[in-house]
Amino acid sequence: MDENNLIKMELTVNGEAVSMIVKGGRRLLDFLRDDLHLTGTKEGCGEGECGSCTVHLDGQSVLACLTPMERAIGCSVLTIEGVGSPTNLHPVQAALLDEGGVQCGMCTPGMVMSALDLLERNPDPTIEEIIEGISGNLCRCTGYKKIIYGIQQAAQELQAASPAGTVKESVE
């Protein structure tokens, strides 16, 4: 260990290999935002209550504010930057816009990551299951209904697009 606490972060982020020497001892959230400049992942409360910093670590949704950055070494991280693109939105992103589930936008990246995690495990969720799936994400604008309808709409579209019932995250 270097005296300056430098570590080698070798991992996959949004499908691309990353290898860089950076300061260790921080949160995955800090590594993503400050070192990789992937600022789509938001810091809301910074204490694990709001879900704004939700990312996928080896295919599971986690809170980047409560994940040590070193834990991501050798893993695959998916952030909102790896989901869809401005010209080709992921069906979940498109449906949230369509249903009016985006207002200030602060919670949206985390909501999308939680919705993807839910649909990966459960491609055809009930309303109750959607509510449970985003229960770790707070939204101060929408009152949730439009987000829930958006996720429901996206699930239907994804189901129609892949009748076998498998939902794949689109990684750019």
């Binding site: 986690v62 994940t67 834990r71 939680s114």
Partner: protein, 297 residues
């Protein structure tokens, strides 16, 4: 901001114990880290030089029946626990509790071991484990030992385990036998405040219309998670009743030490709710003994 200096990912319990013993400065094991990282960031936990990550140690992620007990690895993420048919069969109260801890992202990371080591008097997983008469498998460099769960707690947030010398490897739970069932319920604000206002777990053994044996755990009802042994005694060998017998309520209120906590609830509210929560949980557990019987038929 740097929160720690060294981070080691241990591959075995032995390696983790050696890393903890050898590291300079202050060192601590980390499993899910959803409590520890927050406490470190907010200054509730003294600064640490070294974290030893236990989350990938295969032995600590196991869930299986061994030696006539259900073993649950301390570093098994709660989402994996919740999905386990074995745990559902033998520890329904623990399933009830684990499903209520945090949100989905936290359950993907957080562990039962962390829930217990954080030593909060109202930790949902801990309260459920207490009612199941769980023992803790603790590893030291020189030996391993099995400790009754209740002996792991010294005070609010104070575990009896020495983070430099001891690792909580997992839990052993008695297997469910005929006529037995368990349940967990809590009183909680809908969202945003992480710890229950009141939580309670019941394990019971039914014999026809009577409660042949019972264990009750409740929190926060004192500095450590509480086994309500007087309340158990008031209900043991009694016929099950849809309303709580007055002597059981009296015992519960007498042995619980409820307090007012600024952001959660008043002592008076907790006193008013304790009996209701016990009756509700008792009812669920009792009903489950009947459901199980019907299933077995």
């Amino acid at each position: 901001m740097t929160i720690w200096k060294n981070y080691f990912l241990a591959e075995t319990v032995q390696e983790a114990l050696e890393l903890l013993a050898q590291s300079e400065g202050d060192a601590c094991p980390i499993a899910g880290g959803t409590d520890l990282l927050l406490d470190l960031q907010q200054g509730r936990h003294p600064p640490l030089d070294t974290l030893v990550d236990l989350s990938q140690i295969p032995e600590m992620r196991q869930l299986e029946i061994r030696g006539g007990k259900l073993f649950i690895g301390a570093a098994l993420p709660l989402n994996r626990l919740v999905e386990s048919p074995l745990a559902q069969q033998h520890a329904p109260t623990l399933m009830d509790a684990a499903r209520l801890i945090g949100g989905p992202q936290v359950r993907n990371t957080a562990t039962l071991g962390g829930n217990v080591c954080h030593a909060l008097p109202a930790a949902d997983g801990t309260i459920a484990l207490l009612s199941l008469n769980a023992t803790a498998l603790v590893a030291r460099l020189e030996q391993r030992c099995e400790i009754p769960l209740g002996e792991l707690f010294r005070g609010p947030g104070k575990s009896a385990l020495d983070p430099r010398r001891e690792i909580l490897v997992g839990f052993n739970l008695p297997l469910r036998e005929a006529g037995q069932a368990s349940a967990f319920r809590r009183v909680m604000r809908p969202q945003g405040v992480a710890i229950a206002i009141l939580n309670l777990a019941v394990w019971l053994q039914r014999a026809a219309t009577r409660i042949a044996d019972i264990r009750i755990a409740i929190g926060p009802a004192g500095p450590t998670p509480l086994r309500a042994v007087q309340t158990e005694a008031a209900l043991r060998s009694q016929p099950y009743q849809p309303t709580l017998p007055p002597q059981a309520l009296e015992a519960l209120l007498s042995e619980s030490r409820f307090r007012t906590s600024p952001h959660r609830a008043t002592e008076a509210y907790r006193r008013a709710m304790a009996g209701v929560l016990l009756q509700e949980t008792l009812e669920v557990a009792w009903q489950r003994t009947l459901d199980v019987e019907n299933q077995d038929d």
